[in-house]
Amino acid sequence: MEKTEAHWVATIAAIAQNQDQKAFAEVFRHFAPKVKAFLIKSGADVSLAEECMQDVMATLWHKAHLYDPSRASVATWIFTIARNRKIDLLRRYARPEPEDLPWGPEDAPDQADVIALQQESTKLAEAIRKLPAKQRELIERAYFGDLTHSEIAAETGLPLGTIKSRIRLALERLRHAMN
């Protein structure tokens, strides 16, 4: 049975709080083969993809306490780690990353925000599955790095408005808690 987004969020929390190896093994079984597939689609050969995927999953363990479920789904968070590692390896420079917000356990994200983000992530995934094949393929090619930046036109038809507003709200609450 397909695991819910809430399940994966709880699994990452178990890794962060208890260094839970069983939880890690479960995340690994589900996501490691997808990360490897993503790296192969992005042009890495099979052995580089395996090596790089292991780096990504090891990074996940060490960054688990920095994962904020009110701003990204687990799949999205893993995607960003994989993308960064891919650039480090294939393009041989440390990718500049935005400064992260210094939130900690004492200002943990609002549960309502976490649930809303999980719902929006599920809806987004469904909406993308329903896009015309051509548009879907174009999005996939963009994220596999098959398009240059000048070929990525602003994709106005994408159903990103609601998830963006949700993340914006979560950021506002986080800023408020930090002040």
Binding site: Q21, F28, A32, P33, K34, K36, A37, F38, I40, K41, M53, Q54, A58, T59, W61, H62, K63, H65, L66, A72, S73, A75, T76, W77, I78, F79, T80, A82, R83, N84, Y93, A94, R95, P96, E97, P98, E99, L101, P102, G104, S121, L124, I128, I139, E140, A142, Y143, G145, L147, H149, I152, A154, E155, T156, L160, I163, S165, I167, R168, M178
Partner: protein, 213 residues
């Protein structure tokens, strides 16, 4: 958070999310996102798109000892420290490249009190810091490719209005502009270009070979 009036276009955020921008543009986007929660939320939505693409992939075959080797890697790595709240003029992605805040930049004078410092250049695109004394004009220029200018300190004004800390201007080759630093604080900008700048006017044209722009 500065109150941002000039925002980054979506195609650049999507390009950054997909990881297809040249390094110089990555640096400007990461620095801008550090200063703008609006850009951060928009970027996060394009990353959510990447997460959806990842979720939908068929699983690739992984090595039999994959999990064990990953657990061995984990033992050798230090946990990631929590980010510190940043103070100063430069957000952390820029500070990493410079090796410090604004006072650590190794400037080179380019005439009339203006200074620059090239941060990275890989044949595809170049990122540089520009320092323009308050009230002074940047040399009039146009360019063949795209140019992104992010204000970090002070402000400048051009045909499109006033740009202050956190504001970003994206110009294509059609734009032929003459930014002037506003009075008050000296202006520091982070600029990425993917074509050579073309200066008009005698003095800047003489200076161009020395600027390496």
């Amino acid at each position: 958070m500065p109150a941002i009036r000039h925002h980054i276009p979506d195609d650049l955020l999507m390009g950054y999310a997909a990881g297809v921008l040249p390094q110089a543009f990555d640096l400007v986007v990461a620095t801008h996102v550090s200063l703008s929660d609006d850009a951060r939320a928009r970027l996060a939505s394009y990353e959510a798109l990447g997460g959806a693409v990842l979720s939908d992939l068929d699983q690739a075959q992984i090595d039999e000892d994959s999990l064990d080797r990953t657990l061995a890697k984990i033992k050798g790595m230090a946990p990631e420290p929590r980010p510190e709240p940043s103070r100063g003029v430069f957000p952390s992605p820029l500070r990493k490249v410079v090796g410090g805040d604004a006072d650590a930049v190794r400037w080179k004078g380019v005439g009339l009190g203006a200074k620059q410092s090239v941060l990275c250049s890989d044949g595809e695109a170049t990122a540089r810091l520009l320092y323009i004394p308050a009230g002074q004009a940047m040399p009039k220029h146009s360019h063949r490719g795209m140019e992104m200018t992010l204000v970090l300190q002070g402000a400048f004004r051009d045909e499109d209005g006033v740009f202050a800390r956190g504001d970003i201007e994206v110009a294509d080759q059609q734009v032929d502009h003459t930014p002037i630093a506003e009075p008050g604080e000296d202006c520091i900008c982070l600029v990425a270009t993917d074509g050579r700048l073309k200066f008009q006017g005698l003095l800047p044209r003489i200076a161009q070979p020395f600027l390496g722009i």
